[in-house]
């Protein structure tokens, strides 16, 4: 545990000591706010909730998570600092989890920075705001984010080149969000019903959707946690592979 925290603290330092995390968070807030207030006009819908915001989350996450994680391993592999890192008496799994945890901290920071939206809603709402679905949306954001970040970690460990990591990560995200979507599943239904159901169950959207509307299902939580687990295990594998 101490090892994980040590690694996470260092990575947080790298995120927040340089403009990286700040820029990502600022950009994410700006883009989401743009879509929330201007593109899908909040003041025309006039509904005091955040469904639009959370509806957009998987799509922004799909791009921003790999952008945040792309440096985690790629950068170290490029400069060769893995040599020192791996010579430290720290198990590889602790390194992997620590780095991932740091990216989760960035995610949490971006969640905190988006609290301006609920504040806006409570200021402008005519009647008391229903906070349940908003809390649920944030829980969903963090859960889905954890999985996307774990995916990003794995992809980052695949290549020394950050840009390659980013592109592969975004592609993987698109597969998870768009290809394995309920719409695609509906398209497949005529071909093979079980295949369609599998595709739907594997995708992010079908699991994010109920959280977005305010229902927290154990199965969705388990999905996101097992996704994170799988990708972190793959990252450990990928790093161990460097020793081979």
């Amino acid at each position: 545990m101490n090892n994980i925290l040590t690694v996470a603290r260092r990575e947080c330092g790298a995120y927040f000591g340089t403009p990286i995390a700040w820029i990502f968070i600022a950009l994410q807030i700006a883009i989401l706010s743009f879509f929330f207030f201007l593109y899908s006009p909040f003041f025309i819908i006039e509904s005091a909730d955040m469904r639009v915001w959370f509806g957009l989350t998987p799509f922004t996450m799909m791009v921003f998570a790999p952008a945040v994680t792309m440096r985690l391993w790629s950068e170290e592999l490029r400069t060769g600092s893995t040599e020192v890192l791996l010579s430290l008496p720290v198990p590889v799994k602790d390194l992997v989890i620590g780095k991932w945890l740091a990216s989760v901290v960035v995610l949490l920071a971006s969640v905190v920075c988006s609290l301006g939206i609920p504040a806006t809603i409570s200021w402008m709402s005519a009647s008391p705001v229903d906070w349940g679905p908003i809390m649920g949306g944030y829980i969903g954001t963090v859960l889905a984010g954890m999985m996307f970040l774990a995916l990003g970690c794995w992809v980052s460990a695949l290549s020394q080149n950050q840009v390659v990591s980013l592109l592969v990560g975004v592609t993987a995200g698109i597969v998870l969000v768009l290809a394995l979507s309920p719409d695609f599943a509906a398209f497949l239904t005529s071909t093979s019903e079980p295949l369609a159901r599998t595709v739907e169950a594997l995708g992010v959207q079908s699991h994010f959707r109920s959280i977005e509307r305010g229902v927290l299902a154990i199965s969705d939580v388990v999905y996101f946690l097992s996704g994170s687990c799988l990708f972190l295990a793959l990252t450990v594998f990928q790093v161990e592979l460097k020793k081979q």
Partner: protein, 328 residues
């Protein structure tokens, strides 16, 4: 030890059960695809030794060191650090040594003190131990003024010192340095050498280099690696015992081209006095001076003199790693 290898100089260190072996490498082999980077490398290091790992670029020095430090899994063989097998208990083994990789990779965005804190904490130092460790090592390496600098803004020399500080912060029993003087200016090289000498009072030091002078200057023991094989192991004196006496042919300029050396029964040239190159005569009999002079004239390297001389360490090294191998 490497008794089986006919080409190598086999020097068996006197068996000593009293002295603690801090590194025991046993038959380490490793290949990358078709290339054999290391083949059955075995050696032991005891406390207080400074072991020079000598060999040309690409000989397998780094590969061997990385196998010892657990950064690379060996195809065969084992490495033990202070009696702990790096493969079966990597965490305990890694506590025992400090390692400075060849390229001295630091995290550019971190301040030196943050970096040292990170490495120290990861190596199990906490609280006042950590603060003391940083204080001690930064004092020793003259890093105090640099502690709050970002690593990315340091000069090459200071980077190297931070790299060393990182390897030494937890007072390890073994220090493994891969090409520690690479890219440093002469003054810095001397500083590093002094530091290594000083370190040897407390722990074992292994360092690799492709520069011979370093070995001669500070090592208590030398291992020569070539094409992945260990071809010599001994103190500089022990190796010197293997120096051959024989005819030396001194020519003008940069010497005879390597591909023609065999034909002339000459070893590859090594630099002698300024503007001259010394070749070892490989023939069994006394060289035919007139014939030799003619041939050398033809090859554009006029003969300066032929005499009897003793091989220098360089010549031994070159003979061990160079053309003579092919001759045999």
């Amino acid at each position: 030890m490497d008794q089986s290898h006919p080409g190598g100089v086999s020097v068996t260190a006197p068996p000593s059960t009293l002295e603690k072996m801090v590194i025991e490498a046993d038959g380490l082999s490793r290949s990358f695809g078709q290339t054999r980077a290391a083949e059955k490398v075995s050696f032991k290091v005891k406390r207080g030794e400074i072991l020079g790992f000598l060999g040309p670029n690409g000989a397998g020095k780094s590969t061997t060191l990385r196998m010892i430090t657990g950064l690379l899994a060996p195809d065969e063989g084992t490495a033990k650090i202070c009696g702990i097998d790096i493969a079966s208990d990597p965490i305990a083994a890694k506590m025992k040594f400090g390692y400075l990789p060849e390229s001295v990779p630091l995290y550019d965005e971190m301040e030196v003190i943050e970096y040292l804190r990170f490495v120290g904490t990861a190596r199990g130092l906490v609280g006042s131990d950590l603060a003391k460790g940083i204080e001690r090592i930064s004092h020793r390496l003259g890093l105090k003024a640099m502690l709050r600098r970002r690593c990315g803004t340091l000069s090459k020399g200071f980077r190297q010192r931070v790299g060393l500080a990182q390897a030494l912060i937890h007072e390890p029993e073994v220090v493994i340095l891969d090409e520690p003087t690479n890219g440093l200016d002469p003054r810095q090289i001397i500083e590093v050498r002094d530091l290594i000498r000083e370190l040897a009072k407390e722990c074992a030091v292994i360092f690799s280099t492709h520069i011979l002078q370093e070995i001669a200057a500070i090592c208590s023991r030398i291992i020569v690696i070539h094409s992945g094989r260990l071809i010599a192991d001994g103190t500089p004196e022990e190796l010197a015992g293997e120096y051959r006496e024989g005819w030396q042919v001194v020519v003008e300029g940069s010497g005879v081209a390597p591909q023609r050396c065999g034909e002339l029964q000459l070893a590859e040239g090594i630099p002698g006095s300024p503007g001259e190159t010394v070749h070892q005569w490989l023939g069994d009999s006394i060289p035919d001076l007139q014939h030799l002079q003619k041939r050398l004239q033809e090859s554009g390297s006029p003969l300066v003199q032929v005499g009897v001389g003793r091989e220098s360490l360089e010549q031994v090294y070159l003979r061990l790693t160079g053309g003579e191998e092919l001759q045999r």
